[in-house]
Symmetry: none
Subunit: 222 residues, 4 copies
Amino acid sequence: MPRHDAAIAPEEAARAARSDARRRQVLHAAVPLMERSGSPAVSMQAIADEAGVSVGLIYRYFASKQELVQAVTEGVLDDMARMLAETVEPEEDPVRQIAGAFATYCTVIRDSRQAVMLTYRESNTLDEVGRSVVKELEVRTVEPLRSAVDTAVEQGLLRPIHAELFAYDLLTVAHSWALKHWYFAPRMTFEEFLRSQTALLLSTAIHPEHRHRYPDLLGDLA
Amino acid sequence: MPRHDAAIAPEEAARAARSDARRRQVLHAAVPLMERSGSPAVSMQAIADEAGVSVGLIYRYFASKQELVQAVTEGVLDDMARMLAETVEPEEDPVRQIAGAFATYCTVIRDSRQAVMLTYRESNTLDEVGRSVVKELEVRTVEPLRSAVDTAVEQGLLRPIHAELFAYDLLTVAHSWALKHWYFAPRMTFEEFLRSQTALLLSTAIHPEHRHRYPDLLGDLA
Amino acid sequence: MPRHDAAIAPEEAARAARSDARRRQVLHAAVPLMERSGSPAVSMQAIADEAGVSVGLIYRYFASKQELVQAVTEGVLDDMARMLAETVEPEEDPVRQIAGAFATYCTVIRDSRQAVMLTYRESNTLDEVGRSVVKELEVRTVEPLRSAVDTAVEQGLLRPIHAELFAYDLLTVAHSWALKHWYFAPRMTFEEFLRSQTALLLSTAIHPEHRHRYPDLLGDLA
Amino acid sequence: MPRHDAAIAPEEAARAARSDARRRQVLHAAVPLMERSGSPAVSMQAIADEAGVSVGLIYRYFASKQELVQAVTEGVLDDMARMLAETVEPEEDPVRQIAGAFATYCTVIRDSRQAVMLTYRESNTLDEVGRSVVKELEVRTVEPLRSAVDTAVEQGLLRPIHAELFAYDLLTVAHSWALKHWYFAPRMTFEEFLRSQTALLLSTAIHPEHRHRYPDLLGDLA
DNA sequence: AATGAATGAGTGTTCATTCAT
DNA sequence: TATGAATGAACACTCATTCAT
C-alpha cells in the first residue's frame, strides 16, 4: 500500500469522526427544541443558536431542514431502540420475556414521552422515504416482542393468538402512556399503569392451564 | 308578539344560517387539506382557493388560522362523536354492549382514518384551551364504553378490572387501525382486525365463568 | 311656477337636509377617532361602527377615505374658525383687538388641542387640492388678526412691524400650546401661558409711546 | 495582551462597522421616503428597493417597522442637533448669542424643512418611549438657547421675561419657516424672514436701556 | 336609502437556503 | 471548515372598496 494512501486514510477517518461529532452536536440541540414545539415551529437559526454553530454549518451536514427533521426522528427512534435493546433482560420463560419487554417499553416511553409524541407528530412532515424508514425502525422495535409471543404460543403458554397483533397492541398500549398521558397521569401512577396493563393484557393471552404460574404478573386477575 | 320582532327575527335567523353555511363551506374545504398535509403546511390562500372564496372572507368567519385549525379539529372529533352516537346499538348484555361499541369505534375510525391522524397531529398546534376542549371531547367519547365496562364488572360478567384503563385501551387499540394502518393493512383485512382484537381484548376481561356465553365474540379463544 | 316644481323642491330640500345630517353623523364619529390615532390607523369599519351605520353608507356620502379625511380636517378647521368668529369681542382699540383675538385663539386651541394636532398630522395625507383648501382656511383664520395689526400699525399704536409676519407668529405661538403641550403644561398653567405670551409678544410690537396705555396686557414688562 | 484578543477585537470591530454602515444605508434610503410621504405610506418593500437591499435584510438591522421609524426620526433630530452644535458660534454678548443661535436654528431648518415636518408628523406614530426620546432631544436642543436667555436676563440685557417660554417661542417661530413655508415663502425671502423675526422677537425682549447696542439686530425697530 | 358580505391587492414579517468571505 | 450576511418567496392578516340584496 503506497504511503499516500496510508497517510490519507487516518485523515479521512479523523474527518469522518469530526463530521459525525458535528452531526450529533446539531441533532442534540435540535431534538429538545422539536420535541417541545414541533419541527415547523423551530427555525434553523434557533437550532444553530442552541448548538452553538452557524446556520451555514448545519447545511454542511444536513442537506435541508427536511433531512434534519428526518434525522431527528430517526435518532429519537434509534435511541429508544437502543435503550430497549440495552434494558431487556434475558429470560427463559417466554411469557416473562414478554412481560419484561413490555415493562421495558413502558419505562423507556415514560422517560421519553416527548420523543414518542414527536415520532407521531413528525411522521407527516417526512416524505415517503422518510416515513418508510421510520416504519421499518418501529417494526424492528416490536420484533423481539413478536418473536417472544410466537415462541410462547408455540410452547402452548399463550393461547393461539395473532402474534403480530398482540405484539403491536402491547406497543400501542405502552405508547398510550405518552399519547394519553393527560388522561392516565391524574388517575394513576406509572407503576399502577404498568402493573394493571400487564395483568390486563397478559391475562388475555395466557393459556388457562398456565395461569397459575404467573400470579405475580396477573395480580388481582390471577 | 309585536311586528318588530316578527320582522327582525327571520332576517337574523337567515343571516345566521348563511353565516353557518359559510363556516361549513370553509371547514369543508380545510378538513381534507389539513388531513392530508397538516395545518402548518396548508396556507390560508390554499384553503380559500379550495373553498372557492377569498382569503379575506375566511377571516370574517374565523378570527385566525389558529381558530380555524381548532374548529377543524373539533369538527372532526364532533363528527366522529356523532357517528358513534348514531351507530351504537342498544344491547341488553353489557359485554355485548362493549363489543358493539368497540366495533362501532373501529368502523368509524376505518372510515375516518385521516381524521383520527389529524387529531393526533394537530393536538400540539392547538393552544392550552383548544387542547383541553379536544381532551374533553375524547373523554366524552369513551364515556359510554367506560360505563358499560363498569356495569359489566358490577354484574360479574367481567373480572374486577380497571374500567377506565380498559375502556381507554379499547379506544387506543381502535385508533391503532388508523395510526398503524401501514402495519396492519398489509397483514389483515379490517374484518380480521376487528374480530381478532375483539377476541383478544374481551377474552382478557370476561370472567371465566361467563366465557361460554360469548363464543361468537371470542372466536378461537373461546 | 308649475305644480311639478313646487312639489319636487321641498322633497329635494328634505333629501339634502337628510344627506347633510348623515354626513355630519359620519364626521362626528370620525373626528375623535382620527384625532386620537391618526387617519391611517382608523379603518372605515371602525368609523362606521362608531357612527352606527354601515360601511357602504359612508361611501354614499364620501367618495373615498381620502375625501373623508379631507372633510374631517376641513371640518375641524371650520369648527375652530367658527368658534373664533363667535368668541372674538369687538373692541375699539386695535391693540386690544389683537390681544383679545390672541386670547380667543389660545382658548379655542386649548379646548381643541387634538384638533390642532390633527391638522398638522393629516396635512400630508391630503392631496394637493386638499392641502390648499386647508391653507386657505388657515389664512382666512389669521385674517382678522392681520387686519387688526395693520390698523394698529397705521394708527401708530404698533411700531412699523411686518403685519403678516406678526399675525402668523401669534397664530404659531398659540398653536404651540397644543403642539408643545408636553413641554408647557408641566411648567405653567394655561392662564400663565396666555398672560406671559401676550405680554411678551405685544411688548415687542407696541410703540414705546403707547406702552403706558396697556399695563394690564404687558404685566411685568409694562 | 494575549493574541486571542488582538485577533478577535478587530474582527468584531469590522463587523460592527459594516453593521453600522448597513443601518445607515437603510436609514439613508428611508429618510427621504418618509419625509415625502409619512411612514404609514412607505412600505418596507419600498425602502428595501430604495436602499438596494432585500426586505429581509432590513429586519436584520431593525426589529420592526416601528423601530425603523423611530430610528429615522431620531436620526433626523440628531442630525439637526449636530448641525446646530457645529454651527453655533461662541459670542461674548448673550444677546448676540441668542440672535446667533436663532439664526443658526433658522438656517438649519431651512436646509432640513422636510425633516422638521417629519418630526411633527411621526410623533404620533411613535410609541410612548419613542415619543419621550424625541421630546428629550428637543429639550436638549433648546437648552443652549434657554441658558443664553437666562444669562442675558441676569445681566439685565433682557427684561425679566420667562426664559423657557421665550426660548421655546424662538424655536417654534424658527420651525414655522418649515411648517408654514407655503405661507412665508411666497411673501418673503428666507433672509427677510430671518431678519424680521430676529428684530421682532428680540425687540420684545431687550431691555430699553440696552436697545441702542443692537441696531444691527433690531433693524427698523431699533 | 341602506346593508354588510365579499374581494384581493397589499402589508409587515419570517425563515429556509445560499454564498462570499 | 466555518461564518453569518443576504436573499426573496411565502405567510398570516388587514382593509378600502364594491355590489347584490
